[in-house]
């Protein structure tokens, strides 16, 4: 169909058409959003009602069941649970100095070497036992063999004998430090 209207009229018609499209789109989106708002509001009102009713029934159930007996047993259980947690944590972190002593005394020593004293202290930071010991060795070779034996023990780390322990060739009063990790 041929449009015989003048160009100016055509342009006005096109503009009105565009305005209509924009208005219709705007109204559609507006109505959509408004419906969404109404839906959310009604859900919100429903949920508020549910919360109030559930809170009410929760209070009622708790009141009905909370007899003095209930509270007493609740406290007993809570106390024992707290004790159990302490015991578990204690055993988890416990390091046995008696085992560390047995490890040190279990390392084979040459006949002419013996301890004259030792001290064990627990290092709770790195879960190890720090040991310092003093003793007597008949010869330097015996001390050297003992040092090798200590170093070959898996649970013993950082074996250190100060330079003074190596100065004499015979009748050595030695001291040493080491760490024991029981794993």
């Amino acid at each position: 169909m041929t449009n015989l209207l003048p160009e100016k009229e055509k342009s006005i018609l096109r503009q009105r058409q565009t305005e209509k499209i924009i208005m219709i789109l705007g109204v559609v989106v507006f109505v959509g959003l408004f419906c969404l708002f109404l839906i959310f509001t009604s859900i919100n009102i429903y949920l508020r009602g549910q919360v109030v009713s559930q809170e009410f029934s929760s209070d009622r159930i708790i009141k009905e069941n909370k007899s003095p007996d209930f509270s007493t047993y609740q406290k007993i259980i809570s106390d024992y649970n707290s004790d159990l947690a302490k015991i578990e944590s204690f055993y988890k972190n416990q390091e046995y100095i008696s085992s560390a002593i047995n490890v040190l005394l279990g390392v084979s020593r040459p006949d002419n070497l013996y301890f004259t004293g030792f001290s064990f202290s627990l290092d709770s930071n790195d879960k190890s036992i720090k040991v310092s010991a003093s003793g007597f060795s008949g010869t330097r070779d015996s001390l050297s063999v003992f040092e090798k034996n200590l170093k070959s023990e898996e649970t013993i780390k950082n074996v250190y004998l100060p330079a003074e322990s190596w100065v004499n060739q015979k009748d050595i009063k030695f001291s040493l430090t080491l760490e024991i990790k029981n794993g």
């Binding site: 924009i22 705007g26 507006f30 708002f37 549910q50 559930q54 708790i62 047993y73 100095i97 008696s98």
Partner: protein, 168 residues
């Protein structure tokens, strides 16, 4: 011509933004908040129901559990009654054939719920180690934090311990 279309578009956009920001978005937030509240209340009821069932079971079996629970309680030293613990130390020493002396300074650390004792012991090395094992693996929750020993003669060692025991 174009200016009119632009103004209409702008007005509609502003209206839509106002509707979204001031009405739709807050109502969505409220829905979320109410859902969370509802879920919390339902969880509380469900947790209480479970707790009630467990407490009822515990109540019915309490007499069966009691000996073990009492045994567990005895693992902790009562800070107001240290005699029982000191007697345990003396008995363990006697069984290990060593002589033990408990230092009079006992430090009670109320926050950490521990009591720290110093012990001096004399006897054979094997007896001392045995005593140490008694302490560490005994009925009380004892941590030996320091142990030092010196040979006083061929068959005797003098030792000092610092022990930490859990209290109530």
């Amino acid at each position: 011509m174009d200016k009119k279309v632009l103004i209409i578009s702008l007005v509609i956009t502003i209206l839509l933004v106002i509707l979204s920001v001031f009405f739709v978005w807050p109502s969505l937030g409220q829905v979320e908040e109410q859902s969370r509240k509802l879920s919390y209340v339902r969880d509380t009821i469900s947790a209480f129901d479970k707790e009630a069932v467990e407490i009822e079971k515990f109540k019915q079996n309490y007499n069966n559990y009691l000996p073990n629970l009492q045994e567990m309680s005895r693992m902790f030293v009562e800070p107001d009654n240290l005699v029982g613990f000191i007697e345990f130390l003396e008995k363990s020493a006697e069984e290990s054939e060593v002589y033990v002396e408990v230092q009079p300074q006992v430090s009670l650390q109320k926050e950490a719920k521990t009591a720290v004792f110093g012990l001096s012991c004399s006897g054979s090395l094997s007896g001392t180690v045995n005593f140490l094992e008694h302490l560490e693996r005994g009925n009380y929750l004892i941590n030996v934090t320091n142990f030092s020993a010196i040979n006083s003669d061929a068959n005797k060692v003098e030792s000092d311990f610092i022990i930490e025991v859990l209290t109530r």
